[in-house]
């Protein structure tokens, strides 16, 4: 996916102007949050599960090299191949080479943000392998040439009329607003593809080091078919998704569905230990696990940013974020949206490409309270803001940093502070009579567009009572 994060503001403005998108976002995020709260409240031990979940993810990340080696050993022991990819190019090349060697021209895919991250579909297309997205939302987006705007509901920005028209154009079905009919049309079109495809590509929610089990969570059944019908299964896993023990799934598979969709359990959880065994009637004859770094070891090297690798991609932070709820996913301009996206994107793409994202937050902290593994997202956002200031502002314009230094100078002593206050007071009182301002030039333009500004009192508190 080509990043467009620097265009946050114009995309956000367009989202705010779209009544349809505002309705869709309000409904979707409201429902996700209500579901999560109900599913959590049902469990008396929800808070201690969150602590456990965090401890598991923390342990996994701090034993990453050791656990990845164990995972590799256990996958290989059961006949699977393991490929370590430093970046997207290596991962894509491995998969397209494999497709060529096996004569594969059609690949079915289940929803995977990791494969979006490395633009695998483009690579497959270029290599003459047709990728077919099989998650209904992803299928809609692929037919339309659009990109996902939410982790779980990638086509949340589409309404049924748009889907209907798309299916009339692309699938040749008669126009209908009936969601069941539209869904069955997609099912029929995709069913053939599962049976024809030579390769099935999935992501991975967890990789259990101790047993070599790849865990994939879904609701539609497309992962089940992707990993059952084609002769080759390729799982692309961000290397942070490893977990130490099989038993850890008890905690993580309780936290993930409840935090994501409010379900007690997702409709399908596949626990996969590689290729089919002798005697088994179906399933892939080859299993390949692609362990993707693509910047993860760099994130790991930053002790302040490392915590973002604990994420289990439940999207709870998107649903509670008052900014995401109004601007939608596309404003974030890349694969990961919402607060976690605002933290991950500048880490993956660099502070410059992700610059606006960490600032697109009021730091209200709703995300931290919602996170099932208790990631301190506001702290991570602040850390990314510091990186942007260091790496971008100082290097390219110096203006923002200069402003901060000037502000710091004025704030450093009471005399300077009082002087600055007097300047502002004088300036604002020059603008006219009355207690409220409606027109202020300069940096407060953004404020005054929608808000009046009260004038400060004629005499500051320090003059009245200061000691």
């Amino acid at each position: 996916m080509k990043p467009t994060s620097t265009r946050f503001l114009p995309v956000a403005d367009a989202a705010l102007d779209s009544a349809q998108l505002q309705r869709a976002l309000t409904t979707a995020t409201g429902r996700f949050t209500a579901g999560r709260l109900a599913a959590g409240a049902e469990l008396a031990n929800w808070q201690s599960l969150r602590n456990q979940g965090r401890a598991i993810r923390e342990e996994a990340i701090h034993r990453l090299d050791e656990l990845l080696l164990l995972l590799e050993q256990n996958v290989r022991a059961q006949g699977g191949e393991v490929f370590w990819a430093r970046d997207g190019v290596e991962a894509c090349t491995y998969i397209t080479d494999l497709a060529h060697r096996r004569g594969v021209t059609l690949a079915v895919k289940s929803k995977s943000m990791t494969t979006e991250e490395i633009a695998l579909n483009d690579a497959l297309d270029r290599a003459g392998v047709t990728p077919i997205e099989t998650d209904l939302g992803e299928y809609i987006l692929q037919l339309a040439g659009d990109t996902p705007s939410h982790f779980l509901a990638p086509a949340v920005h589409w309404n049924r009329d748009q889907v209907a028209q798309l299916f009339v154009d692309k699938l040749g079905i008669p126009w209908t607003q009936d969601v069941g009919t539209l869904t069955r049309a997609a099912r029929a079109a995709l069913r053939r593809r599962f049976l024809e495809a030579g390769m099935g590509i999935t992501g991975a929610n967890f990789g259990v080091a101790e047993t070599g089990t790849i865990v994939v969570v879904e609701n539609e059944g497309n992962v089940r078919l992707t990993t059952s019908a084609p002769a080759i299964h390729v799982a692309v896993m961000g290397l942070e998704k490893v977990i130490p023990r099989f038993e850890d799934l008890e905690v993580l598979l309780t936290l993930l569905p409840r935090s994501a969709t409010g379900q007690r359990m997702s409709s399908y959880v596949s626990l996969l230990n590689g290729r089919r065994r002798p005697g088994e009637p179906d399933g892939p004859t080859e299993f390949h696990l692609v362990l993707l770094d693509n910047g993860r070891s760099r994130i790991l090297a930053d002790p302040e940013g490392r915590e973002s690798l604990y994420c289990i991609r439940c999207a709870a932070c998107l649903a509670v974020c008052p900014v995401y709820r109004r601007v939608g996913g596309h404003a974030y301009g890349w694969v990961y949206q919402g607060p976690i996206g605002a933290v991950l994107t500048p880490q993956y793409l660099g502070p410059e490409a992700g610059a606006p994202l960490p600032f697109a937050s009021s730091l209200c902290g709703a995300c931290r309270d919602a996170c099932p593994v208790k990631i301190d997202l506001p702290r991570l956002l602040l850390h990314q803001r510091e990186r942007v200031v260091e790496d971008v502002v100082k290097r390219h314009s110096g203006f923002g940093a200069l402003g901060a230094r000037i502000a710091g100078w004025f704030l450093q002593t009471p005399a300077r502070f009082a002087f600055a206050g007097a300047l502002v007071r004088t300036f604002l009182h020059l603008t006219g009579t009355g207690r409220w301002l409606r027109n202020v030039p300069g940096p407060l333009r953004g404020w005054i567009a929608s808000r009046d500004l009260p004038k400060p009192p004629a005499r500051p508190l320090r003059d009245l009572v200061g000691k």
């Binding site: 937050s361 009021s362 200031v389 260091e390 502000a407 710091g408 704030l411 300077r416």
Partner: protein
């Protein structure tokens, strides 16, 4: 608002000083990624507030800056780290101080009619102060506290966010205003002046007849029977 804080404390038998040496806790700079400047302001604030037994802050987010973030500005080996911890331990948000430290069980204030309370995010989420301001409001003579829908939702201020991302900030504020209007209260009370600045500006621009008040201003209003 500052005078109101001093008046309430004095009436509660706990007069306070306004240290003229103070400037800014550094939160606006800390929150915009200017850590170095924030560190120097924190050092200064720690020094200015060092002589006092307790520090009362009439702003949830400034309180949170001192209590939840100051320590993170200093290396564990830096002596300022311990001073930051010491300051955090004696710093209280205004309503918290009145309820938890002074055990205030009655207030000599009057505000007839409905009021609704806006919960600042840092106050509620970072400091867990939710009950104290409400307890005080319930003691105000004649005041009827009406909770708004979505009281835990951010009003959209967010410091520089309100200027840089002004349309998103305004959209968030507008949702809050709808919730405020739905309570029918003519007054919205908060412990965060910055939220009130934002909400007040929106309310006034839109001609909504709701006034914004800091909790201290409500508590400072004399109860004239």
């Amino acid at each position: 608002m500052g005078l109101a804080v001093l008046r309430v404390l004095e009436r509660a038998g706990h007069p306070a000083e306004f240290p003229a040496g103070q400037t800014c806790c550094g939160q606006p700079l800390f929150n915009t990624g200017h850590r170095a400047v924030a560190v120097s302001l924190a050092r200064r604030t720690i020094q200015v507030l060092q002589p006092y037994d307790a520090v009362i802050v009439p702003s949830g987010s400034c309180t949170a800056m001192i209590r939840a973030h100051y320590a993170s500005l200093f290396d564990p080996a830096d002596p300022a780290r311990q001073e930051a911890d010491a300051l955090a331990a004696k710093t209280f948000e205004f309503s918290e101080f009145l309820v938890k430290k002074l055990g205030l069980s009655s207030v000599a204030a009057s505000c007839p009619g409905k009021v609704t309370y806006h919960e600042g995010c840092h106050l509620a989420r970072e400091l867990g102060i939710r009950a104290e301001p409400r307890a005080l409001l319930r003691q105000v003579h004649g005041a009827e506290l009406v909770e708004m829908d979505g009281v835990d939702q951010c009003c959209g201020f967010g410091g520089s966010f309100s200027v840089k991302y002004d349309r998103v900030s305004t959209a968030m504020g507008n949702s809050k205003i709808e919730s405020i209007k739905a309570t029918g209260a003519p007054t919205v009370v908060s412990c965060d002046p910055s939220c009130l600045l934002h909400l007040g500006g929106l309310l006034r621009r839109q001609g909504v007849a709701v006034t914004t008040r800091h909790l201290a201003e409500i508590l400072a209003a004399e109860n004239k029977p």
